[in-house]
C-alpha cells in the first residue's frame, strides 16, 4: 500500500483486482472469474442454455468438473441404481465432453466433493476469484480467495463470459482471539459465530475471519470455518493468506512453480487487510472460553455449548425466533431443559465438504482407536475425495474405522444432503459433521445435530452427544 492510498480489506483488494467493467447508474460491477468449479446438480440446465443460444464455454481451461452430489458411496463400479441420479451424471459427462471441460468422474482418483478437490489439486489460491453452483463455495475463502456460491443462471453466465455481474458487498470482521482448549475445533468456532450473529446476520457481507485463534489454525481447519459462512447468510468468508497457506499450496499439482511461484508469493503477501482499513461491522469471539458447540434446532444458528441444555423458546424475546424455536423443538422431538449430553443419537456421519478432509479423519480416528462403538449406533465415514480416501488407507485409518464398526465409504457429498441412497429414516437422529440441520435435509423426517469430528467420534462411543473429555470420565 502506498502512503496515500486508502487502506483496504483483503476482500476489497481481491474485488478490485478482478474488475473488468465498473457498473454505472446502479448497474453491478463485472468481475472476472479465475476458477469455475462445476458439478452435476446445478449445471445441466446451464449447458442447455448455452446450446439453445449457440454459445460456447469461453474458458474451458479455467473450468473443472467433478461428480459428487449424486454419487453412490458403495458399489461404485456398478451402474448407478437410481435412474434420475444416473441421468444427471450422464448429462454432466456428455456436457463436459461436448464443451471440452476437464471432468473427474466416479472411479477417478481425483473425484470427490468439488470443494475438497479444488484445494487438493492446488487450483484454489490466494487472491483469485472462485465460483461454483454450490453455496459452500465459500470454503475456498480459506486461502484468501473471493469464493462465492452461485445459481444455475449464473453458472451459465460464467460458462459463456467467464465473468459475473456483482454488487459490491459490505465487509464484516470476525475476530477470534485466544487459544482453543483441547477438544475444541474450528467447527465449534463457526457454529458459535453463527449462533451469535444468526443465519441472516451475514447477509450482504463478506466475512473476514481474523485474530490469533484463526492464525493458528491449519488450512483444513480454516476451510471448515469458511465453508459455513453461507450458514450465516454471507456471500463469502475469507482468511488472509500467510505462511500456513503457502506451505499448504507449495508442490500441489497446479500450484505455480519457479518464477511464477515467487511472483505469486510476493503478490499474496500484499493481500492481507491493511492497517487502518475499515470494516462495516465487527464481531468478537473469545477462543479461550469456547466449548464444543452443537445444534439443537433446524437451522445452523440454533446452537449451544455441548455443556448446555436445550433452550426454552419462552425465554426467546424475538417473536420470529421464538416461533422458529417452537417449531424446531417439535420437529426435533426435544424438550426445553434437556441436557445436550443426554440426547441419544442413532447415526454418526463423518463427512461433507465441511469436515471430510484427512485431518478430520485423523482426529476422529485418534478418538475411536481401540474403543468400542455404542450399541445400536451406526457410524458412516465418507472421505471428501478419493485422494483423501487413498491417503487415509495408506495411514491405516480405514482399519481403525472398520475395527470400530464404522462403515468406510467412497467419496462424495453423501448423507450431508442425501441425494444418493445415504439417508436417514424418518425420526432417526444423527450427529453429523456436515453443515445444515434443516428439516428433512438428511432424509424426510430426519433429525440432525451439527457437530465437530471430535464430538462425532466421542458420540459414536457413548451413544449420546459427547466430547472427548467425557471419555476420560468413562474409563
Amino acid at each position: 500500500m502506498s502512503a496515500n492510498s486508502t487502506p483496504l480489506t483483503l476482500a476489497e483488494k481481491v474485488w478490485n483486482s478482478h474488475l473488468v467493467a465498473k457498473g454505472e447508474d446502479g448497474a453491478p460491477d463485472l468481475l472476472y472469474v479465475d476458477l469455475h468449479l462445476v458439478h452435476e446438480v446445478t449445471s445441466p440446465q446451464a449447458f442447455d442454455g448455452l446450446r439453445l443460444a449457440g454459445r460456447k464455454v469461453r474458458r474451458p481451461d479455467l473450468t473443472i468438473a467433478t461428480e459428487d452430489h449424486n454419487t453412490p458411496t458403495v458399489d461404485i463400479d456398478k451402474p448407478i441404481a437410481d435412474l434420475t441420479s444416473r441421468a444427471q451424471i450422464e448429462a454432466l459427462r456428455k456436457n463436459a465432453a461436448e464443451f471440452g471441460i476437464r471432468l473427474h468422474s466416479l472411479g477417478d482418483k481425483n473425484q470427490g466433493i468439488v470443494h475438497v478437490v479444488g484445494p487438493q489439486l492446488g487450483l484454489t489460491m490466494p487472491g483469485i476469484t472462485v465460483v461454483c453452483g454450490d453455496s459452500h463455495t465459500s470454503t475456498h475463502g480459506a486461502f484468501g480467495a473471493l469464493a462465492m456460491g452461485i445459481g444455475t443462471s449464473e453458472v451459465e453466465h460464467v460458462l459463456a463470459t467467464q465473468t459475473l455481474p456483482l454488487k459490491p458487498f459490505k465487509t464484516m470482521a470476525i475476530n477470534v482471539e485466544g487459544t482453543l482448549r483441547p477438544g475444541v475445533t474450528s467447527k465449534d468456532i463457526i457454529l458459535a459465530v453463527i449462533a451469535k450473529i444468526s443465519t441472516g446476520g451475514g447477509q450482504g457481507y463478506v466475512l473476514e475471519y481474523r485474530g490469533s485463534a484463526i492464525r493458528s489454525l491449519s488450512m483444513e481447519a480454516r476451510m471448515t470455518i469458511c465453508n459455513m459462512s453461507i450458514e450465516a447468510g454471507a456471500r463469502a468468508g475469507l482468511v488472509a493468506p500467510d505462511e500456513t497457506t503457502f506451505a499448504y499450496l507449495k508442490g500441489r499439482p497446479h500450484a505455480p512453480i519457479g518464477k511464477d511461484w515467487d511472483d505469486a508469493v510476493s503478490y499474496w503477501k500484499t493481500l492481507p487487510t491493511d492497517e487502518g482499513a475499515k470494516f462495516d461491522a465487527e464481531v468478537f469471539l473469545d477462543a479461550d472460553t469456547l466449548d464444543p458447540f452443537v445444534t439443537w434446532g433446524t437451522n445452523p444458528g440454533q446452537g449451544v455449548s455441548l455443556l448446555d441444555s436445550v433452550p426454552d423458546p419462552e425465554d426467546i424475546l424475538d417473536p420470529n425466533e421464538k416461533a422458529a424455536a417452537l417449531r424446531a423443538l417439535e420437529y426435533m422431538d426435544l424438550k426445553p431443559g434437556t441436557k445436550m449430553k443426554d440426547i441419544r443419537v442413532d447415526t454418526v456421519f463423518l463427512g461433507s465438504c465441511t469436515n471430510s478432509r484427512i485431518e478430520d479423519l485423523r482426529a476422529a480416528a485418534a478418538i475411536i482407536e481401540g474403543k468400542k462403538k455404542a450399541d445400536g449406533i451406526r457410524m458412516m465415514v465418507v472421505p471428501g475425495s478419493q485422494k483423501v480416501r487413498i491417503q487415509a488407507e495408506e495411514e491405516g485409518l480405514d482399519k481403525i474405522f472398520k475395527d470400530f464398526g464404522a462403515e468406510w465409504r467412497f467419496a462424495g457429498c453423501s448423507m450431508c444432503l442425501g441425494m444418493n441412497p445415504d439417508q436417514l429414516a424418518a425420526g432417526e437422529r444423527a450427529a453429523s459433521t456436515s453443515n445444515r440441520n434443516f428439516e428433512g435435509r438428511q432424509g424426510k423426517g430426519a433429525r440432525t445435530h451439527l457437530v465437530s469430528p471430535l464430538v462425532a467420534a466421542a458420540t459414536a462411543i457413548r451413544g449420546t452427544l459427547s466430547s472427548p473429555a467425557d471419555l476420560e470420565v468413562m474409563v
Binding site: 453491478p28 446438480v41 443460444a53 474458458r59 483469485i128 444455475t152 505455480p256 422458529a324 445444515r436 428439516e439
Partner: protein, 200 residues
C-alpha cells in the same frame, strides 16, 4: 425474458421465518435435468401436512407469496425459484431475503420485494380476513396492494430495470466483451489453469 410491469393474483400467507431452500424444494427433486416442471416439488415436505397453506383450495392458484423474514436461505439451488415460478408465483415479499436467492430470482423473472415485518403481519391479517383475496403488484411504482392497504416495497434498481425490460444478463455482459478480452490478456502467469490437467 418476459417484460414485467403490473399484475394481480391471489395472495398467499406463508407464516414462517427462515424458509430455507431445502424446504422450498427438497434435494430429491434436484436430480432433474430440465428447467421446468418443478411445481410438484414446491414445499414438498410441508405439502404432506394437511393444514399447510398451499393445500387449501383457495390458495392453490396463488401468485403472490407473502412470507416471514429470512426467506430463501441455505443452498444456492436455483430450482427453488423454478419451483415457485412453475407453481405460478410471480412475486415473493418478505422482510429479508438471502442474497443468492434474490440473485437467482432476478434472473428468472420472479420479483423479490422487501417489506417490513409489520407490513407483512398486516397483509397476513388482511388475507386471513378474506382468504383468496387478490394482491396487486406494481413494479414501476414498487407498490403491493391488497384492498385499500398499499405498501411500498424495496427492490434493487438494476434488477427492477432488467425485469421491466425483460433483459438477458449474458447479452448485457457481452456488451463488455472487449474489456473481458483485455482483462484476460494481462492475467498473471501464476493464476490457475485447469488445462492441461496435472496431478492425474
Amino acid at each position: 425474458m418476459e417484460k414485467i410491469s403490473t399484475f394481480s393474483g391471489v395472495a398467499v400467507p406463508l407464516k414462517r421465518s427462515n424458509v430455507d431452500t431445502d424446504q422450498i424444494i427438497p434435494a430429491s427433486y434436484l436430480k432433474r435435468i430440465t428447467k421446468t416442471g418443478f411445481e410438484d416439488a414446491l414445499f414438498a415436505s410441508w405439502k404432506a401436512e394437511p393444514d399447510f397453506v398451499l393445500n387449501q383450495p383457495v390458495f392453490q392458484n396463488g401468485e403472490v407469496l407473502i412470507a416471514g423474514p429470512d426467506f430463501g436461505t441455505g443452498s444456492s439451488r436455483e430450482h427453488a425459484v423454478w419451483a415457485l415460478r412453475d407453481w405460478g408465483f410471480k412475486a415473493v415479499f418478505s422482510a429479508k431475503f438471502a442474497d443468492i436467492f434474490t440473485g437467482n430470482s432476478g434472473k428468472q423473472g420472479l420479483i423479490t420485494g422487501v417489506i417490513t415485518e409489520d407490513e407483512t403481519k398486516k397483509l397476513w391479517d388482511l388475507i386471513d380476513a378474506n382468504p383468496g383475496v387478490s394482491a396487486s403488484v406494481d413494479l414501476p411504482n414498487q407498490t403491493l396492494t391488497i384492498g385499500d392497504f398499499s405498501v411500498s416495497f424495496q427492490i434493487d434498481a438494476y434488477t427492477k430495470w432488467r425485469l421491466m425490460e425483460g433483459l438477458d444478463d449474458i447479452a448485457l455482459s457481452l456488451r463488455d466483451e472487449g474489456a473481458i478480452t483485455s482483462y484476460e490478456s494481462s492475467r498473471e502467469a501464476w493464476k490457475p489453469l485447469t488445462l492441461p490437467a496435472k496431478g492425474i
